[in-house]
Symmetry: C2
Subunit: 430 residues, 2 copies
């Protein structure tokens, strides 16, 4: 073989990055891979569109099913995104014994176990470094570098849009709605519906993938508990700051008593935590392992060339394997851990209540917490009169107890409404 | 094969970590590697010493040459350190077609190109993730994850001892001698001679290894320009802080016009730089690549189990290759970049002068800088009378011009002595 011929499905943001980098660094990549790489077919929806890329017009086709079947394609890059169609095409490619490199987090998060089994059966590679945290190498470190260790917890800032919004809210005291509107103008958030990001769906898919690798188990997207950042207010962030925390949307995968807990939600994170200083659209993944201790991986979580770089790193790996007629290591699922129900989580909580500004309310609120076995660590009142609010930080408590508490609080005399509840990541593992 | 038999050279800090982790996580590791791993021979100097490790007494030998020759050893772990003897043993192991995993930075930094060639010839793996930055996965990301990209600069905090000393000096305003003495008591610095760390030798070896991988070239330890932290004073650190910098010992490898610049020295680093918040004995490596952008890898840079974890990650990789009868990717050296002389460096500088407290001195000093084409960005006087000092921050200048300036300053009227000169890492690449 003197050339590896690549077929690409999709040519949007990530695909353009792949083409651009390969055109610029093709000689280096060939020297490292041991063979030249050439993009010979690219499936797109709109053949008429000029993408301004260094590719000859005849590589483009609107028949992706031809790309995954073609005899002149040695390796398939899938960067079209989504599940149904992309999933069918990836399955066809694997069935045709073509290795696949994908940046598709939704596909891997939902169908990873099935697709990995297909790849194993076909004896070809399926790689997806670009599906989590863009350019940051995290799949390979979890799967290979830490293969001699035991991971206990992974915490990630995995979505640039929400981290951008929370950073701006924190640094400027701005409201969620104002920052979101600006982020949409700047292209950081989708218009008109930003909920794939703000609702935590994107981060949840990535967290499922990380949990699978960290705990040698088949964790999929529906296993992930998920809350978005839509209800985070400037007040929540101000309270957090006063107590030495920042509010971040994090994905947390941890192992407790042999079960895996997987969740995405806004969290009070101590401002001394390495993740606390990750600003704007940057991503980072923090890993706690028995032997290695605490590691962090930081970088751009999205973007054309960063994600393209991750795709090409995988491509070089696949090509090296092709030349030796082997495939890379399989994901291990030997631990087959069950997923722990969210109700069993134990952590600290921040509770903000709109209350009537009169004596006796605090006593009633405190009694409600006590009746549900949730112990209060700190409490104070914000505002007066119609704007009176109680801020409470609890000690570590069970999620189920906290939920009962919140339900009961809504019916507690003097409590107008439960304005917000957020989890607080303290030092202990949960 | 149902067991991979490991021979280990040395059983000190790192070796104990390997044994401990393997005993604790052997089942997981076997599931991931596809086969059980067993340590069958361990070469030590002192057979009589009880190491309290979960190994039967009969695996120990004081004849390392037997370990690398033994028919019942499939894979060699070298954790004895040093060059001469360790190098001979690694060469023997490779000649006997046994793959080698080593944590030996001095060996790889000096003899890496030769050893890699031997390994390639023998068709076996030589891996050394543990040689740089302990538990932090950095070799694999540079060699594999970024194989589709072009790296422009790598900056690392690669030595825990010096970072510990500088952190304590920064946070407590303490002197170098006081913190060093305490670090020696605590076991963070060697006694009586801490110079392998404080003189930058350890960091230089690691920087050479990183430069080789980042720039597809054979960079070895003697190519690295090196200055230690012994001359850094509380005054330097106080001045840095006032200007928004922290002082860190960093290894910097960068590419300029096709040549590689490789250097280790204390540096003023902007306090907003991701590396600036790396405290105490932690390490971190910051990578700038064309496609991926800016990445950072953070974690413990040393220690028994962290380094043992990195060794075992490599071991699992080697074992997976052994089972497929292949070897992992070779380091590419196709770029074969030359090393740029330090004199050609362009960066900013901090210069501290002991001066006479009288008029005309500043004019003379400024004239001296001007005569050597070094432009001054900021200047002020500290102290009065016998303690008068001039602090100068230059614009970007050539190292050779700065050196001429410093020589001339020593002979400039009113200048008592050049107290210190440190480089300042500004935003631009150098």
């Amino acid at each position: 073989m003197d050339t590896i011929r690549i077929g690409m499905l999709g040519c949007g943001t990530v695909g353009s990055g792949v083409v651009t980098i390969l055109a610029r660094s093709g000689d280096d990549i060939a020297a490292r891979a041991g063979v030249r790489l050439e993009i010979v077919r690219v499936a797109v929806r709109d053949l008429a569109r000029d993408r301004g890329l260094p590719l000859s017009a005849d590589v483009f086709t609107d028949r992706p099913e031809d790309v995954v079947a073609a005899d002149d394609v040695d390796l398939v890059i899938e960067v079209m995104g989504g599940r149904g169609r992309a999933g069918d095409l990836v399955r066809s490619a694997l069935a045709n014994r073509k290795p696949v490199v994908t940046a598709n987090k939704q596909l891997i998060a939902h169908e990873g176990p099935e697709l990995r089994a297909l790849a194993a059966e076909a004896g070809v590679d399926l790689m997806y470094e670009a599906a989590v945290a863009g350019a940051i190498p995290i799949i390979r470190p979890l799967k290979e570098s830490l293969a001699g260790d035991r991971i206990r917890r992974v915490i990630g800032i995995l979505n640039g849009t929400t981290n951008y919004i929370l950073t701006r809210m924190t640094e400027e005291g701005a409201s969620y709605d104002d920052v979101l509107a600006e982020a949409q103008e700047l292209g950081y958030a989708e218009k008109p519906d930003p909920s794939a990001d703000t609702g935590g769906h994107d981060a949840a898919a990535k967290t499922a993938i990380l949990a699978s690798l960290a705990f040698d188990s088949a964790v999929t997207d529906p296993d992930v508990f998920r809350e978005g950042i839509e209800r985070v207010t400037a007040t929540d962030i101000a309270v957090a700051r006063r107590l030495g925390y920042v509010v971040k949307l994090v994905g947390i995968a941890s192992e407790v008593d042999g079960a895996v807990a997987v969740r995405v939600h806004p969290t009070f994170l101590p401002e001394t935590h390495p993740l606390a200083s990750v600003r704007l659209a940057f991503n980072a993944v923090y890993v706690e392992a028995d032997g290695a201790g605490e590691l962090m991986f930081y970088g751009p979580g999205a973007g054309s060339e960063p994600t393209g770089s991750a795709v090409l790193g995988d491509v070089v790996d696949v090509v090296r394997n092709l030349l030796q007629t082997v495939r890379g290591p399989l994901e291990s699922t030997h631990r087959a851990a069950t997923v722990r129900p969210m109700e069993d989580l134990t952590t600290q909580y921040y509770v903000l209540l709109d209350v009537e500004d009169r004596s006796g309310v605090l006593a009633a609120v405190a009694a409600t917490f006590g009746q549900h076995d949730v112990s209060i660590a700190q409490v104070w009142q914000e505002g007066v009169g119609d704007h009176a609010q109680l801020v409470l930080i609890t000690h570590r408590a069970r999620e189920s107890n906290l939920r009962s508490t919140v339900e009961a609080l809504a019916a507690t005399g003097g409590v107008r409404s439960v304005a917000n509840v957020l989890r607080v990541e303290s030092e202990g593992r949960s």
